[in-house]
């Protein structure tokens, strides 16, 4: 079908169906938040955002996201590079292991960290005796988020690295570039859009992560309560104004991320010809 032509017959029916389906599942709930926030009164809602608990929750979410993004960008790039460029026994096994966080429920993931770093866990007592609190504290929440977002960067870059191949890297070597120069001047620029896309996905997921973080956080107000946990706690406490206002902020951030993703995809398809 060429651009600008309208679908006819069954095509039109199916198109309309899909539009309704997407509207009902995606746009409608969002409008729901808007409506509920309005009913609670905009002023009241936004006043709740100024409370120390809310501010703390958002600050916590953003700093966890920052850590997760930095660590998983470095780690994910390295992981993808090793998978694409090194040959070793168990490479395929490692590659499928990277997908595990997609398959495991975040709640289970959080629980695993409790078992590992909890007061009676495997490594917990050792950390405790060195004065480091992992679970029910910031490090545990970063760990849980890292686990959940591990695949994004690696899985976005891996196919790009494979497709680009080693030719350009070898060419750079023959022109006198050191392996480090080859990475920064040749490899990195050719995977940059995939990398950015992976980073954006990691941000989106880190901001919205709930299950894993909830389990390891212990949701202590003003301490380990992230934005999503804050929303959940307000909601179960019948403090709807606070819940809706915070939801609105998170949803707005999501739309921003969606917008960035779209423009990245556009740039990518323009350049990867």
């Amino acid at each position: 079908m060429s651009k600008g032509e309208s679908p006819r017959g069954w095509g039109a029916v199916l198109t309309l169906g899909v539009l309704l389906w997407v509207f009902f599942l995606i746009l409608f709930p969002f409008l729901g938040i808007l409506r509920e926030t309005a009913r609670e009164g905009w002023r009241a809602a936004f006043l709740t955002l100024g409370t120390p608990e809310a501010l703390h929750a958002f600050r916590l979410t953003f700093s966890i996201t920052l850590w997760a993004v930095v660590l998983n960008t470095l780690g994910g790039t390295l992981l993808a590079w090793v998978l694409a460029r090194q040959k070793f026994r168990g490479r395929l096994w490692l590659e499928s292991l990277v997908d595990l966080p997609f398959a495991v429920s975040p709640v289970v993931a959080g629980f695993m960290f409790i078992l590992l770093f909890g007061p009676r866990g495997w490594l917990g007592p050792w950390f405790e005796s060195h004065g480091i609190k992992v679970v029910y504290a910031f490090p545990g929440m970063v760990l849980a988020t890292l686990f959940v977002t591990l695949p994004f960067v690696a899985k976005e870059i891996l196919p790009v690295l494979r497709e680009v191949g080693t030719d350009q890297e070898e060419a750079a070597l023959t022109l006198g570039a050191s392996p480090v120069q080859v990475f920064f001047r040749i490899t990195l620029p050719s995977i940059r859009w995939g990398l950015l896309y992976g980073v954006v996905l990691t941000i989106a997921r880190s901001l919205g992560e709930f299950g894993a973080v909830l389990v390891v956080s212990g949701s202590i107000i003003n301490s380990t309560e992230t934005a999503t946990v804050y929303i959940h706690d307000r909601f179960t406490d019948f403090q709807y104004a606070g819940a809706f206002a915070a939801s609105l902020v998170l949803a707005a951030v999501s739309f921003l991320v969606l917008f960035i993703m779209q423009s990245l995809l556009k740039r990518r398809s323009q350049e990867e010809r």
Binding site: E170, L173, T174, I186
Partner: protein, 365 residues
């Protein structure tokens, strides 16, 4: 500076892909590394560049051994088969890459890039990206990029393989020109014998990882030192016969060939190029003239190809148009085939498939 290979060997698992190869390329010399696909020629080139590690042997550049030297420290230019241009950089930046790495002052880089763009006739394309260029243009950029740091040795892997016939031949001639202007030691890999003969000073024929023959184009074509070289370079008819002192006989053919001065006896392989065969009216007399029947006649543009059955053999002859029209050979017609030149090789022990065939034909026990 000259490049010297000494007994270079490479194995992938159980298979030896390059097997004790030795030769050298002198400064100012354009050498072709010619062989069929899978003969190990590309692996050999990659070892010279340092992209593969040899399992044995040594490499010398001038007086210095470079066998274990890192790729980036050898001053070799390499042109990849698929060009391997940096997609995210403009033509200018591609060419400048090797100079930027060497921290050449920007002004000098600009001048060098400009003169190289002129050399490869792409003056107006500096700001283009590789995807905006044609295959031939990309090839030229790849060459300019490899030449920018002024390498002592230039290596090219199937440089014209991906181009169509016309572009290929003009680029090949142009490479010849550039080579003589720069005077580097140049080694290029090709599977195309015409390309090798056309532009190189010397040809190294390689098969199954071993050097079969090294020599000039004429030498390799006219005096092949092995059966492989003869059959790989140019079209050739391969006849299996039996030498008995002065005469060579063939299965199902009354006439014999005069093999002057060879003596001895045993199975032999005879190689006759199509242009060394000429067709005569039946009944003409002469030495080395076999009677046969025309099997197929096919038009090939500038010439006709005629296949003639002689005994149990089918010989391919090439007839120039003018010659052909004098006789107008037809399929089924009886003709005389005159062998005006040939090479023959005694079949060495170990060529069991040929020996087996000759055994079946009753030539040998």
């Amino acid at each position: 500076m000259s490049l010297r290979l000494e007994n270079l060997t490479k194995r992938f698992g159980q298979t030896t892909v390059v097997d004790g190869v030795s030769f050298s390329v002198e400064k100012g010399e354009l050498t072709a590394l010619l062989g069929p696909s899978g003969s190990g020629k590309s692996t050999l080139l990659r070892m010279i560049a340092g992209l593969e590690r040899p399992d044995g042997g040594r490499l010398w550049l001038g007086g210095e051994e470079i066998t274990g030297k890192a790729v980036q420290k050898r001053s070799l230019g390499f042109v990849f088969q698929n060009y391997a241009l940096f997609k995210h950089l403009t033509v200018e930046r591609n060419i400048a890459f090797g100079l930027e790495i060497r921290k050449v002052p920007p002004r000098e880089i600009r001048e060098r890039v400009e003169s190289l763009l002129e050399l490869v006739k792409l003056t107006d394309y500096g700001k283009h990206y590789p995807h905006q260029l044609s295959g031939g243009q990309r090839q030229r950029v790849a060459l300019a990029r490899a030449l920018a740091p002024r390498p002592e040795v230039l290596l090219l892997d199937e440089p014209f393989g991906a181009l169509d016939a016309k572009v290929r031949s003009s680029l090949a001639q142009w490479l010849r020109e550039i080579h003589s202007r720069l005077g580097t030691a140049t080694l290029f890999v090709t599977h195309d014998q015409n390309e090798a003969i056309e532009i190189s000073d010397r040809i190294v024929v390689i098969n199954r990882g071993r050097v079969e023959q090294i020599g000039g184009g004429e030498e390799v074509y006219d005096k092949p030192s092995t059966r492989f070289v003869a059959s790989f370079i140019g079209n050739v008819n391969i006849l299996e016969g039996f030498l008995d002192k002065e005469r060579i006989s063939f299965s199902g053919v009354e006439e014999t060939l005069a093999a002057s001065g060879r003596g001895g006896s045993g199975p032999v392989v005879i190689l006759v190029r199509p242009e060394e065969l000429s067709l005569r009216k039946l009944g003409e007399s002469g030495e080395n003239l076999f009677p046969g029947t025309v099997q197929t006649v096919s038009y090939r543009g500038s010439f006709f190809q005629v296949e003639v059955r002689v005994g149990e053999m089918v010989l391919r002859a090439v007839e120039e148009k003018r010659n052909f029209h004098r006789y107008e050979w037809r399929e089924g017609e009886r003709v005389g085939v005159s062998l005006e030149g040939w090479q023959f090789f005694e079949v060495p022990e170990g060529h069991e498939e040929i020996r087996e065939k000759l055994r079946q034909l009753g030539y040998i026990e």
